[in-house]
Symmetry: D2
């Protein structure tokens, strides 16, 4: 097992954290999943979003089971818009849910005026010491805060997992993603937390209309066909984890845990990371320093 002597390059993002609760864990998960769907990469989606951690009954503002989710965008206005749309379309509509601000200590808050949906029938309530709105709906009442903290976080923390074949690399990526599932403040926005198709900026051949295209240097099937392949001999598949987080520490903790977990799987040969000479962003996470 080799840990490549390189670093992950990352960039600043605006992040809000929403606590979604529901009558049962299952309903909280369904709402959190819908609200963080179609949100893999800011290149093609309106936001990057993922499920942060599970909060058992008793560890949420209303005592019910829940999940915290992170929603990340590159512009602050976009974040406000995405909070309204994703909470309004995907959580307010889901059975038995409530939403709370998951970054109570953030000095800046975004107003997210959901109570207008109540059409004047809504009323204010306290949940513990939180000021919330209760909006009458068909299923009962939807309880929500209307201000959500926003912080400048980190997007694009990453590791590459290289395995001798597809299933070794993929299972390692899976268990690495499982590690991050219990680390607060860090999320994986891609399906199951894993990126199968890393991209480079622009395109060699279709430059006129493609903003991004396959990163041929990391494609095992092209190892002997491209001059600058970064796929070592004996590697059959590469999977990437891309991590967004509330701060540098969350990314570091997630990367460390993910690498250690990935290394428990037989057939994993090398861990590396992606960087772009500073063009992507100011953050650098050196693999050798993190471990």
């Amino acid at each position: 097992m080799k840990i490549d002597d390189t670093y992950a390059e990352a960039f600043p993002v605006f992040v809000s954290r929403v606590i979604v609760t529901a009558a049962t864990r299952n309903w909280a998960l369904k709402a959190a999943t819908e609200a963080t769907g179609f949100a893999t990469s800011c290149i093609g989606c309106a936001a990057e979003a993922g499920i942060d951690i599970y909060l058992p009954p008793g560890e949420t503002p209303d005592g019910r089971p829940g999940y915290s989710i992170l929603i990340c965008t590159q512009k602050k206005d976009k974040l406000k818009e995405q909070l309204i749309e994703r909470i309004g379309e995907c959580i307010l509509t889901a059975p038995t849910t409530a939403t709370f601000n998951g970054l109570t200590e953030a000095p800046e808050k975004l107003p997210v005026k959901l109570h207008f949906f109540g059409d004047g029938f809504e009323h204010q309530v306290k949940v513990g010491d939180r000021s919330c709105w209760a909006i009458p709906i068909m299923g009962g009442e939807f309880i929500t805060e209307e201000e959500f903290g926003v912080v400048k976080g980190v997007g694009g923390g990453n590791i590459f997992i290289m395995g001798e074949n597809q299933m070794a690399a993929l299972t390692a990526a899976e268990v690495a993603a499982e590690r991050i599932e219990t680390i607060s403040g860090a999320v994986l926005s891609f399906p199951g937390g894993i990126v199968s198709s890393g991209s480079k900026v622009g395109s060699r051949k279709y430059a006129k209309f493609m903003k991004a295209s396959t990163n041929e240097a990391y494609c095992p099937s092209l190892r002997d066909k491209v001059p600058d392949s970064k796929v070592p001999p004996g590697i059959g598949a590469v999977y990437e984890l891309i991590i967004d987080g509330v701060d540098v520490k969350a990314i570091e903790t997630a990367m460390r845990g993910a690498i250690r977990a990935a290394c428990t799987i037989p057939g994993v040969k090398m861990i590396s990371a992606g960087n772009y000479g500073g063009k992507l962003g100011p953050y650098q996470f050196k693999l050798h320093s993190i471990l």
Copy 2:
């Protein structure tokens, strides 16, 4: 148990059906879930989308486990755009996936040029008798067709489930949604398949800026506060299933199965449906005729 003598009013939508396969059921599900996320209602989302049915290994074009999903929009151009974005961002990026046209008999097909991502390294392959592209990616190759059938389907088929309290109505909605999970050609786009917060068009109080607001006539907590409540006495909660499908028959089959399943749950008191005097659309599904 009362079946209300009324009908569900529905409207035409453009529908494509995408078959998503992967190495295992779990990975196919994760990709299908991400690709159909943030897609509850065309009011606030770019599309309505949901998982159609599970296809076991051996029942897909490449013999691997998969799911069919439906993506629905009100305009055809928007459907093409959503196919590109949702497949490109959420399925191409997911581990071990492939995508195939799930409406092979539709006379009209939308071109979805995913192979450009391959930046010239892609090549054509046959999967059975289907012409596909193989795009080199980090995890191996992404195999996909590039034309997806489109049909004029039906959006907004619906039933209302009224229960003596929240958990009776919700569990009935859950089992009704489970029934539809195995009916080919019909999907539920809301979280877990269930709508908790039905809306009316516009707003009484915030008309200047709200396109939709809570449907107070169906809110149990407002039963004694609004003049025209449609919530019968003794009803504690109302949940709605909204069904999109490839044709009228799929909607009918889904509504019939859903109503029968809902009626197995103790505490369910009435099944009804939503209609809007023909303003919403031309389709009418009479509950008493369907059963």
Copy 3:
């Protein structure tokens, strides 16, 4: 990919099929899982048992979602005892469940007198044309038939999946097991459907007290240490699927589907099967004939 020119050797077992329904799919699954737990091999467990197929709402005697399960033993008396214990301890006790005979056409039926639990408060009811008992319990009433068909089925159908490393072989076994999940009449009794530790009868070294021990001929880590290893070069792991079924046809269908599914996974090198020169039993399933 090589399909070994060999056969799986299997033996007769007594089989009953129980349909477990519940209010929701989740509760049916939990009951079915508990009832088929601790039932991997007749060598160390009182029965071999597994979940057969999912039955959606509308496809069961009471219209609710359910699962059929198979319970298999080598003696008929033991089967009756196991039916009483597993239904009584694991399904009767589970929320909202009911149980029905899943082999209605079997000429022979085992009496399973569960109604005595009702202590005289029980009463007879009809579910469709089935004669059942309704037993008052804390959660409501437990509905059950009291006669369960028994047939002479087949135990020990099997395939060996050999992969270049652990994750390739395991993922292939997983997807093969997923194939069998939708084949009616065949079950996998081991955890997740997969056997990691195949055994031989008796023991070389600890013969005095061990009835079975590791099958060193199939252990990749012993390939160079035992004279008669059956592990080909380049194989890093071997997983076995052991299939019990209601008849020869169910075993054949399951083996065929499983082999085809396993072969879709990159890194799988060979499919073989286990046989013991006729000492284990009279059934032979030739791999080359089955496919």
Copy 4:
């Protein structure tokens, strides 16, 4: 919501705690589920067993994801036997698993000689500072400790959840069970953690052959038919949680968390507990003191 002024009566049991790890969370869960199956009540099963808590990658002896499980019996010899059988039949046989002693500080340990399965091919290894055996198997090697701590714990901690109908009571029981899932040292041995059919010792009508029968005093459908019903008016269903734990504190923590979680569900009317005048055992958990 009423908390009944009563207590849960519980009894001593012998308890071992086994840590089951695997390559992924899913495989650890499958093995843990099989190993704790058919183990609801010592009345009809050889042990009471359940899943304790999830241990993410990095929080287990070998760094892989895992679950701790508790196995409980009334006699110590039976516990040793059950450890051998349940680990040997359900975990050793499961893909990629390992097992470790989860009660390292218990002064007494039970010898569980699993290495004989290796038939002389096994060898000793260290996992951190734990002395383990590595047993060659088809899937690779099975790693296990051979001594498991045993403590005198508590069996039969319980609460009754009474709801205005079945789904309210059941959902409350579900969320209470979810609370206990994250409390270390306490398990629920029944399916999904919930008991639907509480029993009394012996039988009125079938006393000759029934050791236990339905507890008619808690059956809502018999409320007007038995003289001593303990079901208050307006209660449609009663579900029980039965908790086994490593010590008194684990039971108390679990009961407290479960009651609070249950009370978040609309339609729950009363929490009570079961006791038998000291005939069952020496432990008493007063609901009013615990909260």
